[in-house]
C-alpha cells in the first residue's frame, strides 16, 4: 500500500476541497491559455505566437505542483491511488516525493503517507 486508507468523514471533507481545487485550476488554465486563444481568433505574427507559448510554458513547476495536489486530494477523498496516478499521468513515487519536498501546500498531505517507525532500542531482558 502506497497511501493510507482514509476514513469516510475525512474523505467527504477532502472531496469538497478537491472540487474547489478544480475550480482554481480552471481559472488558472484560462489565465495562461488566454493569449493562445486570442491568437487562434486572430493570428498576429510569429513574435506574438512565441510570446503566447512562453506564457503557457512559464512556471511549469508550479503547474506540476497543482496537479500533484489535485491528485492527492482525489486520493484523500477515497479514490484508488493507482487509478489516480495512472489517470493523471503522475508516478506514485514522484507523488510521494512531491509531498516530502514540495513546500507547505503539498506537505499538508503528509498524513496520507506511511511514515517510517522511529527506531527503538531493544529492551534489556
Amino acid at each position: 500500500m502506497a497511501f493510507r486508507r482514509v476514513t469516510p468523514e475525512a474523505a467527504a471533507k477532502e472531496a469538497a476541497l478537491a472540487a474547489g481545487q478544480a475550480e482554481v485550476m480552471a481559472e488558472w488554465h484560462a489565465g495562461v491559455a488566454s493569449d493562445l486563444l486570442k491568437l487562434a481568433e486572430a493570428h498576429a505574427n510569429a513574435n506574438a505566437t512565441l510570446a503566447a507559448v512562453a506564457k503557457w510554458r512559464a512556471d511549469q513547476e508550479k503547474r506540476r505542483q497543482r496537479w500533484c495536489s489535485a491528485a492527492l486530494m482525489l486520493i484523500g477523498s477515497g479514490d484508488d491511488p493507482d487509478a489516480v496516478c495512472a489517470g493523471l499521468g503522475l508516478g506514485r513515487t514522484a507523488l510521494q516525493q512531491a509531498v516530502r519536498t514540495g513546500g507547505p501546500v503539498l506537505s499538508s498531505f503528509a498524513d496520507l503517507l506511511y511514515m517510517p517507525r522511529p527506531k527503538r532500542k531493544k529492551e534489556a531482558a
Binding site: A11, A15, A16, A18, A19, G20, A22, E23, M25, A26, H29, A30, A33, L36, L37, L39, A40, E41, H43, A46, N47, T49, L50, A51, V53, A54, W56, R57, A58, R63, W67, A70, A71, L74, S77, G78, D79, A83, V84, G87, L88, G89
Partner: protein, 159 residues
C-alpha cells in the same frame, strides 16, 4: 547534396498557415480542458467521475504542451533561427530541435504546395531544380523563387 535551409517564400506562407492551424487545435484542446475542469468542480459528483474529468483535463493540457512545440517549429519553418525561437518561447534549444516534428523540419528550404492529404496540409513540390547556390522552383504556377529578389539568378554575384 546539401539541402538549402534558407526559407523559401512558400515556407513563409506555409509557416503562417500552419501556425493558425495549430492555434485552432490548441483552442479546441483548451476548451476541452476548461470544460473538464469545470465539471470536476461540481461538488455533487463522486470521486471516480471527478477523476475521469481531471484525467481528461490533464491529457488536454499535455497535448497543448506538445502543440506549443509544434507551434515553435512552425515559426522555425518560416525562417526563425532555432536559438532565437528558443529564447522567445521559453522552450530550450535542445528540446525544440529534438522534439520538433521531423516533417516540419524537412520542409524548410523546399518549395511547398498545399495538399489536403499531407500532414499540416503542405508538402514539398518535389520538382525543384537547383543550381550551385540557388534553388529554382519547378512548379507550374507563378513562384517568387524564380522571379525576383535576392535569390534571383539575374542578381547572382557572379554575373
Amino acid at each position: 547534396m546539401a539541402r538549402y535551409r534558407r526559407p523559401t517564400p512558400s515556407n513563409v506562407t506555409a509557416s503562417r498557415e500552419i501556425q493558425e492551424q495549430i492555434l485552432r487545435r490548441i483552442a479546441e484542446l483548451s476548451a476541452t480542458a476548461t470544460a473538464a475542469l469545470k465539471s470536476a468542480a461540481n461538488p455533487e459528483i463522486d470521486v471516480v467521475t471527478r477523476r475521469g474529468h481531471l484525467a481528461a483535463a490533464r491529457t488536454a493540457e499535455k497535448q497543448i504542451d506538445d502543440a506549443t512545440i509544434e507551434l515553435a517549429a512552425a515559426v522555425v519553418l518560416g525562417g526563425g533561427r532555432a536559438a532565437d525561437v528558443a529564447a522567445r518561447s521559453g522552450i530550450s534549444t535542445a528540446t525544440l530541435t529534438r522534439r520538433m516534428p521531423a516533417y516540419l523540419r524537412a520542409l524548410r528550404g523546399e518549395h511547398l504546395v498545399q495538399d489536403a492529404d499531407a500532414p499540416y496540409g503542405w508538402k514539398p513540390a518535389g520538382s525543384v531544380s537547383r543550381g550551385s547556390d540557388q534553388a529554382f522552383c519547378g512548379g507550374q504556377g507563378h513562384c517568387d523563387l524564380n522571379s525576383s529578389g535576392s535569390r534571383s539568378a539575374s542578381r547572382s554575384p557572379r554575373q
